[in-house]
């Protein structure tokens, strides 16, 4: 354990040192992560406003304040669970710059995860004032009880790790096809719908909601958000977290299998 703490601490330090070299780029990325939920919020707020009443789905309804709360929480949770490793990894396989990482007695996922964490800490600090301003401006509907919010924290951690592992499994496809970007783009579109980034799952057609719940997407995205807002009953919350663990374990198994097979394929042009 001491080893892993030291590994993550030293890699985090490096990640921050690197980010300080590219301050403007980090600012742009921070804002980019913010804009997606903001656009969805604007669209749904307009829809609620034009109707003059709540937007009603199959099982839940959303007022303007509810939308504000949903997307403001999604801004933070989506940011924390965000992962972009497939793009980066494919580049490394293609150019052979993965090789030095493979020579070290440490799986590359750890250095990348450290960078991911470091990035999120820095960018969260950058966007925090804007988020507070939006919170004051948009007057979100705040749930009566803080229980859901507290329960959402472990769910959020599980969502972040699960998404990271699945994203890295996807990244490892680059061992076979160096143009994994197209597959990753497809994954992001699926994620937008099935993880509730574009709209709350409750407002989606029933079949999309059903697909969302039998895939890892809901558990990696909307589930902790809905939990924080008190929209998931206690029993379902516990079941949801158990299923998060299941999806995490499946993700780890898939990742290990893809990696083990992929590393044998590794023969990049510049490897």
């Amino acid at each position: 354990m001491k080893y892993w703490i030291a590994v993550y601490r030293v890699n985090l330090r490096v990640a921050w040192a690197m980010m300080m070299q590219y301050r403007f780029a980090i600012l742009i990325w921070a804002v980019w992560g913010f804009v997606g939920p903001l656009v969805s919020l604007a669209v749904w707020s307009a829809a609620a406003h034009s109707r003059g009443s709540d937007v009603v789905g199959a099982s839940q309804s959303f007022s303007r304040g509810d939308f504000a709360a949903y997307f403001l929480v999604y801004m933070i949770f989506g940011h924390i669970t965000m992962s972009w490793d497939a793009f980066e990894f494919a580049y490394r396989v293609r150019t052979g710059s993965l090789s030095p990482q493979l020579l070290r007695p440490l799986h590359p996922i750890h250095a990348d995860a450290s960078y991911n964490i470091g990035f999120k800490v820095i960018t969260s600090i950058i966007v925090a004032p804007a988020w507070v301003a939006l919170f004051v401006l948009l007057k979100p509907a705040i749930p009566d009880s803080p229980v859901g919010l507290l329960m959402s924290l472990p769910a959020l951690a599980l969502a972040a790790v699960t998404r990271y592992v699945w994203q890295y499994a996807l990244a490892a496809i680059a061992f076979w096809t160096t143009r994994v970007d197209a597959i990753n783009q497809f994954y992001f579109v699926l994620d937008a719908f099935l993880a509730g980034r574009i709209a709350p799952i409750a407002l989606m057609p029933a079949w999309i909601a059903a697909v969302s719940r039998v895939t890892p997407f809901w558990y990696m995205g909307a589930f902790p958000v809905e939990l924080a807002l008190g929209r998931v009953p206690l029993q379902s919350a516990l079941t949801g977290m158990a299923l998060q663990v299941v999806w995490l374990l499946i993700g780890i198994a898939v990742f290990r299998a893809v990696w083990a097979a992929g590393i044998k394929q590794y023969s990049a042009v510049g490897a």
């Binding site: 080893y3 030291a6 590994v7 030293v10 890699n11 330090r13 490096v14 040192a17 690197m18 070299q21 590219y22 052979g96 710059s97 090789s99 030095p100 493979l102 020579l103 070290r104 007695p105 440490l106 590393i263 044998k264 590794y266 023969s267 510049g270 490897a271």
Partner: protein, 364 residues
């Protein structure tokens, strides 16, 4: 301790009457346990290919054509503890592919290898802690931060005790004159400075086996010399085993008593560097500085005149006849200076790769 000097020559290629080189794979050195053991190692790459043009591009969407490229074929050799072995071959010979297999980056298509008792491509952490691969065209150092930050990462990853890290680092700083380089972002360093930092990063954990792939690529002559001295010193002080590829023959002649030559994926030669020269180019060069009175003397009667210019002349004579020829020159011609040299190793290697028997291009 290096036992490079004790390595007996392996089976050497022999020049047949037609001047072709009879190829023979090497045998294992007897009586010692090899630290690097390679047997029948082969690697085939499967490469997608298509003719140029848009039509071919569309056609390849539906029917992909793949070509198998035999990068390494049935390579067998051993390296013993403390040896520095030069791994020679022209571009595309299979040197880097072999090194990558030995470093665990690539899986072979067939054959087996062990390094320090480990199968490299199983990539066990214990193995990776015991080796280093330095590639002249590839960076392990993080480009955006000072090298010292990358060193500290290595200290943690390789679990190097603090005292040992400090001691090794101090040694490396002194030997490679790293001083001020460690606090500058790597991208701001010159190529030579960067290579020194790369070497330091690769050696912090004191690897027992070092694979060096073109470590002096692109660096100036002074820096090349410095890197060579450093590698030699590291080998002497730590007893590390080194397998080195380089296109600069000066690297090889300065560091390696033994060379393994590979061409088109196949092993051509494994043995002493000097023996290789003797077999491939069995002559010596006699360089003469003549006295004023010797102008016009018929120097070419002593051997093949490579160059005669004023009071300077270079002759080529068969090795066996060289002592007698030198004696005759000294007796018959007034000379200021006379030196006997081996032919440049570049010529030896060039001839080796262009001999028809080596499956290379025909000599002109």
């Amino acid at each position: 301790m290096s036992d490079a000097g004790t390595v007996s020559d392996r089976e050497l290629p022999e020049l047949s009457k037609g001047g072709q080189i009879a190829l023979a794979p090497s045998g294992d050195a007897e009586g010692e346990e090899a630290q690097v053991h390679i047997h029948g190692l082969s690697k085939v790459y499967r490469v997608h290919e298509r003719p140029a043009g848009l039509a071919a591009s569309f056609a390849s969407l539906f029917r992909r054509r793949f070509k198998e490229v035999q990068a390494v074929t049935d390579v067998t050799f051993d390296i013993h503890a403390g040896e520095i072995v030069g791994f020679l071959g022209p571009n595309g010979a299979g040197k880097t592919t072999t090194l990558k297999m030995l470093a665990g980056l690539l899986n072979p298509t067939s054959g087996h290898a062990t390094v320090l008792g480990y199968t490299p491509w199983r990539r066990q952490n214990e193995y990776l802690r015991s080796i280093s691969l330095v590639m002249g065209n590839r960076n392990q150092l993080n480009w955006d931060i000072p090298a010292m930050d990358s060193f500290l990462v290595n200290q943690v990853i390789y679990e190097i005790p603090k005292a040992q890290f400090r001691e090794t680092l101090d040694e490396l700083i002194e030997l490679l004159d790293l001083g001020e380089l460690l606090t500058k972002p790597v991208r701001g360093l010159s190529l030579g400075e960067r290579m020194k930092c790369e070497l330091a990063a690769a050696l912090l954990h004191r690897p027992r086996v070092l694979f060096l792939d073109e470590p002096t690529l692109g660096v100036d002559v002074t820096m090349q010399g410095r890197i060579r001295r450093f590698v030699s010193d590291y080998n002497r002080r730590t007893g590390a085993t080194v397998l080195l590829t380089s296109h600069y023959m000066a690297d090889v002649t300065a560091l390696c008593r033994r060379v393994v030559v590979i061409h088109r994926g196949k092993l051509l030669y494994d043995g002493g560097l000097e023996a290789l020269a003797e077999r491939i180019l069995p002559y010596k060069l006699i360089r003469l500085d003549l006295q004023d009175g010797a102008v016009g003397a018929d120097i070419s009667r002593f051997g093949d005149a490579v160059e005669i210019s004023g009071l300077k002349a270079t002759l080529r004579t068969p090795r066996a006849e060289t002592p007698a020829t030198v004696a005759r020159i000294l007796a018959d011609v007034p000379v200021v200076d006379l030196t006997v040299e081996d032919p440049p190793i570049e010529d030896v290697i060039d001839l080796l790769f262009t001999e028809p028997g080596t499956d290379g291009a025909a000599p002109s």
